[in-house]
Subunit: 139 residues, 2 copies
């Protein structure tokens, strides 16, 4: 892109959608951030269908690589994510989802998946579960 | 992991380091977040060497997929990232870097790479460059 031509300040989503860079598996990384606190909750993956569904419904849907299918966040645990705003990075190869997370985002019952901090030569667990995972995932 | 056995609250980094999940290209996604404001700045990739160097020096080093070499953030632009804390997710397949970013993180001169927001049927540019990129990347 030439920097001598000002970028337009608003363009149609349909045009930008066609420029997103999915990887060889058809996936794009999606970072989920709690919209009001700024806490980074998790990172997962979307394919085009997951992204389109998320925008259409306002409820975040990922692509589960381990299960090989669409994964409507909270479908097992009830801990859903409502989309507040979708943001795209400069290269169009990463998504930032501003979400309103119901309960914990992490399958361990913690608010965020990033609960391990490297401090010196140790890794400390810096957050406790909000809910016991056995309650979240009832048999 | 069985949830009936409490997790230890602190473990050696050397033990956790060996459990990190790099992809088939030997890379792991690394999200950079400004440590005090909570702004998500960018997402890039690290290999084991980039991660080890970052922890050893306190200056963030990524792996540039386009250049196929280590990329010490700011080496061209001067806009470096100092690592405040490294966090790991539950699955050990994503890194969260709490950083102190000098100037803009984005090559467009913006504070964050996530300056495009999907709003209705449009994508709006929601941030202006802090510095003209032609000043950042002098010929």
């Amino acid at each position: 892109m030439s920097h001598s031509v000002p970028e337009p300040t608003s363009v149609p989503w349909t045009a930008v959608r066609a420029t997103l860079k999915f990887d060889a598996q058809g996936l794009i990384p999606a970072i989920a951030q709690q919209y009001d606190s700024g806490e980074v909750l998790m990172m997962a993956w979307m394919n085009q269908a997951a992204l389109d569904e998320t925008l259409a419904t306002g409820r975040v849907c990922y692509w589960s690589r381990s299960r090989g299918r669409l994964w409507r966040k909270g479908e097992s645990s009830g801990q859903i994510q409502r989309l507040k705003e979708l943001r795209l990075d400069c290269d169009g190869d990463t998504l930032l989802l501003l979400v309103d997370q119901t309960g914990p985002a992490c399958h361990t019952g913690r608010a965020s998946c990033f609960y391990r901090a490297v401090r010196g030569t140790r890794v400390d667990i810096i957050a406790a579960p909000l809910i016991d995972p056995s309650v979240l995932y009832k048999a």
